[in-house]
C-alpha cells in the first residue's frame, strides 16, 4: 500500500543497487529509504561509431537502457545522440571510464555530473528541501518539493548537532581532552584512554543520534585519529548512520586559483549524517553553518561537499542543474576555443573593470554609492551568456555602444543567476529595514555573504578556460558593460556638479558642497539608474574618508587603500594593515581601535578634539609592546606558504618558520598558513606550531615596533595633516573644482 511522508531531505547517495535517501520526518524521526534512479549520459559522433558503441554497451555487464534521441547542445544546436541510462547509478563512473578507453573519439555529454546533483535536478529538490515522499514500503515512488531554495523565510529543520572539539590545535600541541557538546550538555573525555573514549563516544552517537557531527580539525586529525583507535582496539564507533557504507576519505591537495595558492586538507565524509570541520570548510569564518546550509540549498550540492568546495564549483553546479532541467547537454569537456581576433579588437576588449586613481587625502561628507551586484546584474539584465549571440563581432567594445540586452531567450547564465540575484536583493533590502537587534539579522547576513561569493565567482567562471558554460567574449562583454555603466554614472554625477573623488569597478565616491544626507543624493541615484538600467544604492555617507598614497611614492594614489567613518559611526577600511591577514593581531587591533576613537568625532571639524585621545591610546599600546606585556599570541604573524620549500631562492620568514616545523616533524604544504614570531638573532623567526613554547625574551620587539608605527602612521598622518596643518588633501595633480571651473576662468581671461 502506498503511503506519504513529509520531512526534510537530509542526504542522497548511491548504494549498490539504487539510491539511498535520508529524511528528517515532520514526526521527528530519521527515515531511510531507497529510490530507483536512472542517470543518463550521452554520446555524439558518426552514426557508424554510435552503432558500434551501442553494440559494445549491449555486451557490458552493467544493466542499461539505450535509446537514440535528439538533444540540444547550446553551441552546436540540435544533435542526434545515443542516450545511455545506467540503472545502477553507482556504476556510472566505472562504465564511463571504460567507454572512454574503447571510444575516445566520441563527444560525451552529462558524463561527470554527480549523482546527488542529477537527483536534485530531476526532482527539483535540494539539501534540506521540505518535501513530500510517496512511498511503497521503504521504496520512494515520487518526491514533491514543498519549498524552493529561493524563499527568505525557510522553516528551520530540527537538526541534531553534536560538537566534538579537542582542547587544543593538534598542529600546535598534543590534545589531551575531547570536548563533547550538544544543546546544553557539555563534557570532556580523556583522549588517551582510548577504550573508554570509544565506548563513551559510541554510546553518545547511539543515544543522541546526531544529524551533524560538527568538529574542529575533524577532517585533518580527529576522525582519522578515532578511526585508527578503532582499528587498533577492535572496537566499533558508529560514525556513519548508514552502517552498510564506509566512511569516505578524500586526500589533501593544493591548487592554484586567482593568482593564489590554495590548500585543501584531507576530508572525511559520513553517510546518513553529515560531518563538517570548522577548520576545513570554505569561508566558515565568513558565514558559519547558516551560510554553509544556504550554499548547499542554492547550489544543490550535498551539504558535506558544499561546505568544502569553492564557490566556483557551486556556480557550476547551479548551471548544470539549469541545463539538466532544460534538457540542455552539458559537454564533458569544453570544446569552444577563443575565436581569432584582430589586434585592435583584442586591444579594445581585453580589459577589466575601470579603476580610477583617487584624490589622495582626507575628504569630508562623501557619498559612497555602489551598483548592487554589478556584474551578475549585467549578466541577467543584458542576457549575457556564452551561447547567446551578440551583435557585431560578439564583443562589445565599449565606446559609444548602447546598453541593450541581447535579443532572444535568456541564456543559461542569466537563467541560473536570476533567482539567486533576486534573493540577494531581497535579503539586502530586508537587512536595511530590519531593526539593529532583530534576531534574523545575523542569519540574513550569513546567507547574503554566501550568495556574495557565488555571485562574485560567476563572473570569473564566464572567462575560465575549463568552465563548461564559459566563453571569454561573454566575460569581456560583462566588463565592457561595467565600464560603460560606470562612465555613465560619472557623467550623471558631473552634470549634477558632483566631484568624483574615486571610482572602483562598481562604486563611486562623490562629493558636493551641501550634500550631507541620503536625501541629497537621491536625485543622482535615480538619474544613474535611469541612464544605466542597473540598480544602484547608497553604501553610506562618510563623515570623512581618507584615500592613501602608495608607500613607495607619496604622490601616487593607490586605488584600494582607504579608510573612513560613516555617518552612523561605523568604520570602513580597505587595504590597510588591519585588513591584511599577515598583520599581527595586536597591531591590527590597535589600528582598528584607533579608528574607532577617531570615529567618535561627530565630523571632520571635530577630529582635533579626539586626536589627543587617539595619541594617548597609541602611547599606552606602545608602552605595552615595549614592556613585553603583549600576549605572545597577539604578536603572531600568519602567512601563506606560496611554494614548496625547495623552490625558494632566498627563504622568506614564512619559509624559515616552515623549516623549523619540518625539523619538528610537521609537514606544511604550499597554500597552508604558517604562524610565526619575529625573534632576535638568526634565523629571525620562530614557528608557532612546534611543540616547545617560545621564549618571550627572544621576541624582536624592535621589529614589532616598526610594524606598529607604520600601522599607526597610516591612520594618523592624514588626520594630523588635516588637524594641525589644515591641509585635507594635497591637490598636487588634481585641482579642487572651484579652481578649474572653466567658464569663470574664461571670463577672467577675456
Amino acid at each position: 500500500m502506498n503511503t506519504t511522508l513529509t520531512g526534510w531531505l537530509l542526504d542522497v547517495y548511491p548504494n549498490d543497487v539504487n539510491l539511498t535517501l535520508w529524511l528528517i520526518g515532520d514526526d521527528g524521526e530519521r527515515h531511510c529509504f531507497v529510490q530507483d534512479f536512472t542517470p543518463r549520459l550521452y554520446a555524439a559522433g558518426h552514426a557508424a561509431r554510435l552503432r558500434q558503441l551501442w553494440q559494445w554497451l549491449d555486451a557490458q555487464p552493467v544493466p542499461l537502457c539505450l535509446e537514440r534521441t535528439r538533444r540540444k547542445d547550446v553551441f552546436k544546436g540540435q544533435a542526434t545522440v545515443l542516450s545511455v541510462g545506467v540503472l545502477q547509478p553507482a556504476r556510472l563512473d566505472e562504465l564511463f571510464r571504460s567507454m572512454l578507453v574503447a571510444f575516445p573519439d566520441l563527444t560525451y555529454y552529462d558524463a561527470d555530473i554527480s549523482i546527488p546533483l542529477r537527483h536534485a535536478a530531476a526532482f527539483d529538490v535540494f539539501p534540506l528541501a521540505h518535501c513530500r515522499l510517496e512511498l511503497c514500503g521503504t521504496k520512494v515512488l515520487g518526491i514533491k518539493p514543498l519549498d524552493t531554495p529561493w524563499e527568505l523565510e525557510l522553516e528551520p529543520p530540527p537538526l541534531r548537532i553534536l560538537s566534538l572539539e579537542p582542547d587544543c590545535d593538534p598542529a600546535h600541541g598534543d590534545p589531551q581532552q575531547l570536548i563533547v557538546s550538544h544543546g546544553r550538555v557539555r563534557y570532556s573525555l580523556a583522549l588517551h584512554s582510548r577504550t573508554a573514549l570509544l565506548v563513551c563516544l559510541a554510546a553518545e552517537m547511539r543515544r543522541y543520534d546526531p544529524d551533524l557531527l560538527l568538529t574542529s580539525w575533524g577532517d585533518t586529525w580527529l576522525l582519522p585519529y578515532l578511526a585508527q583507535a578503532c582499528r587498533e582496539s577492535g572496537l566499533h564507533l558508529p560514525l556513519n548512520r548508514d552502517e552498510s557504507q564506509a566512511v569516505l576519505e578524500r586526500k589533501e591537495h593544493t591548487y592554484f586559483s586567482y593568482g593564489q595558492i590554495v590548500y585543501r586538507g584531507r576530508q572525511v565524509q559520513l553517510r546518513g549524517r553529515w560531518h563538517l570541520d570548522r577548520h576545513n570548510a570554505m569561508l566558515w569564518n565568513d558565514y558559519a553553518l547558516d551560510g554553509v546550509l544556504e550554499m548547499a540549498r542554492v547550489t544543490r550540492q550535498p551539504v558535506q561537499d558544499a561546505a568544502r568546495l569553492s564557490p566556483g564549483t557551486g556556480i557550476s553546479s547551479m548551471q548544470f542543474v539549469t541545463a539538466l532541467q532544460k534538457d540542455i547537454l552539458i559537454p564533458w569537456h569544453k570544446q569552444q576555443a577563443e575565436t581569432p581576433k584582430t589586434a585592435i579588437d583584442l586591444l579594445q576588449a581585453d580589459m577589466g573593470g575601470m579603476v580610477y586613481q583617487p584624490t589622495i587625502g582626507l575628504h569630508r561628507d562623501v557619498g559612497g554609492i555602489d551598483f548592487v551586484s554589478m556584474y551578475p546584474g549585467i549578466m541577467v539584465r543584458f542576457n549575457i551568456s556564452p551561447e547567446v549571440p551578440r551583435a557585431g563581432t560578439g564583443v562589445l567594445t565599449g565606446s559609444g555602444q548602447g546598453l541593450e540586452p541581447a535579443p532572444g531567450e535568456p541564456g543559461i547564465v542569466p537563467l541560473t543567476l536570476a533567482p539567486l540575484l533576486n534573493k540577494r536583493l531581497a535579503l539586502k533590502s530586508a537587512l536595511q529595514t530590519l531593526h539593529r537587534h532583530d534576531c534574523r539579522r545575523p542569519v540574513y547576513q550569513s546567507l547574503s555573504s554566501a550568495h556574495k561569493w557565488l555571485l562574485v565567482t560567476c563572473f570569473g567562471y564566464l572567462g575560465y578556460k575549463n568552465a563548461r558554460f564559459g566563453r571569454i567574449e561573454s566575460h569581456e562583454a560583462v566588463t565592457a558593460y561595467g565600464r560603460e555603466a560606470l562612465l555613465r554614472a560619472k557623467e550623471a554625477a558631473e552634470e549634477m556638479d558632483y566631484e568624483i573623488l574615486h571610482m572602483y569597478v562598481d562604486g563611486l565616491w562623490v562629493q558636493k558642497t551641501g550634500c550631507k544626507s541620503p536625501a541629497d543624493f537621491e536625485a543622482l541615484l535615480a538619474d544613474i539608474t535611469a541612464r544605466t538600467g542597473l540598480p544602484i544604492s547608497m553604501d553610506g555617507i562618510y563623515r570623512w574618508v581618507v584615500f592613501l598614497p602608495s608607500r613607495q611614492n607619496v604622490r601616487v594614489p593607490v586605488p584600494n587603500r582607504y579608510f573612513g567613518v560613516f555617518q552612523d559611526g561605523s568604520v570602513k577600511v580597505r587595504g590597510i594593515e588591519a585588513r591584511r591577514h599577515d598583520t599581527a593581531p595586536f597591531i591590527a587591533e590597535t589600528q582598528m581601535r584607533l579608528l574607532e576613537i577617531l570615529a567618535q568625532a561627530p565630523d571632520a571639524d571635530h577630529l582635533g578634539e579626539v586626536l589627543p585621545l587617539a595619541k594617548a591610546f597609541v602611547y599606552r599600546q606602545l608602552k605595552l609592546l615595549r614592556g613585553g606585556r603583549v600576549p605572545v599570541e597577539k604578536l603572531l604573524i600568519s602567512q601563506k606558504l606560496s611554494r614548496e620549500l625547495g623552490e625558494y631562492s632566498s627563504p622568506s620568514p614564512s619559509a624559515r618558520a616552515v623549516r623549523q616545523m619540518q625539523a619538528a616533524g610537521k609537514i606544511v604544504r604550499p597554500g597552508q598558513r604558517v604562524r610565526f614570531l619575529f625573534t632576535l638573532g638568526k634565523p629571525g623567526v620562530r614557528a608557532w606550531d612546534v611543540p616547545q613554547p617560545p621564549d618571550p625574551r627572544s621576541i624582536d620587539l624592535k621589529r614589532y615596533r616598526i610594524l606598529f608605527e607604520r600601522a599607526v602612521d597610516t591612520v594618523l598622518t592624514p588626520i594630523q595633516n588635516s588637524v594641525s596643518v589644515g591641509v585635507d588633501c594635497e591637490c598636487l595633480y588634481l585641482f579642487p573644482p572651484s579652481v578649474c571651473s572653466l567658464p569663470h576662468r574664461a571670463g577672467l581671461l577675456g
Binding site: 593568482g259 589586434a343 586591444l347 580610477y356 586613481q357 588634481l734 578649474c740 576662468r745 577672467l748
Partner: protein
C-alpha cells in the same frame, strides 16, 4: 585567469623602465623633474586603459601635458588674483 595584453599600469611601468638609461644620464635635479612627469602621467592610467590606444606612450605624453596645463591654469589664476588685488 590571465590577461592576453598587459594592463595600462604594466605598459606604463615598461615605458618608464625603457627610459632608465635616459634618466641615469640626467642631472639629479632633472631626474626629479622627469620622475614628476611620469608621476603625472600615472594619474590618468584609468583613462589610458579605457582609451586602449595602439601607441600608449602618446597617451602618457598627453597625460603629462594635461597635468602641465592644469598647473599653468592654476598658476595663471593665482597671478591674476594677485594682480587684481593690487591697487
Amino acid at each position: 585567469m590571465g590577461r592576453t595584453l598587459p594592463s595600462a599600469t604594466q605598459v606604463f611601468l615598461q615605458e618608464e623602465a625603457a627610459f632608465s638609461r635616459f634618466r641615469r644620464a640626467l642631472r639629479r635635479s632633472d631626474q626629479l623633474a622627469l620622475d614628476d612627469l611620469f608621476g603625472s602621467a600615472r594619474q590618468h592610467l584609468a583613462a589610458a586603459q579605457y582609451a586602449s590606444h595602439a601607441l600608449p606612450f602618446e597617451v602618457f605624453l598627453l597625460s603629462m601635458l594635461l597635468e602641465e596645463h592644469k598647473e599653468v591654469m592654476h598658476l595663471r589664476q593665482l597671478v591674476e588674483e594677485q594682480l587684481s588685488q593690487k591697487p
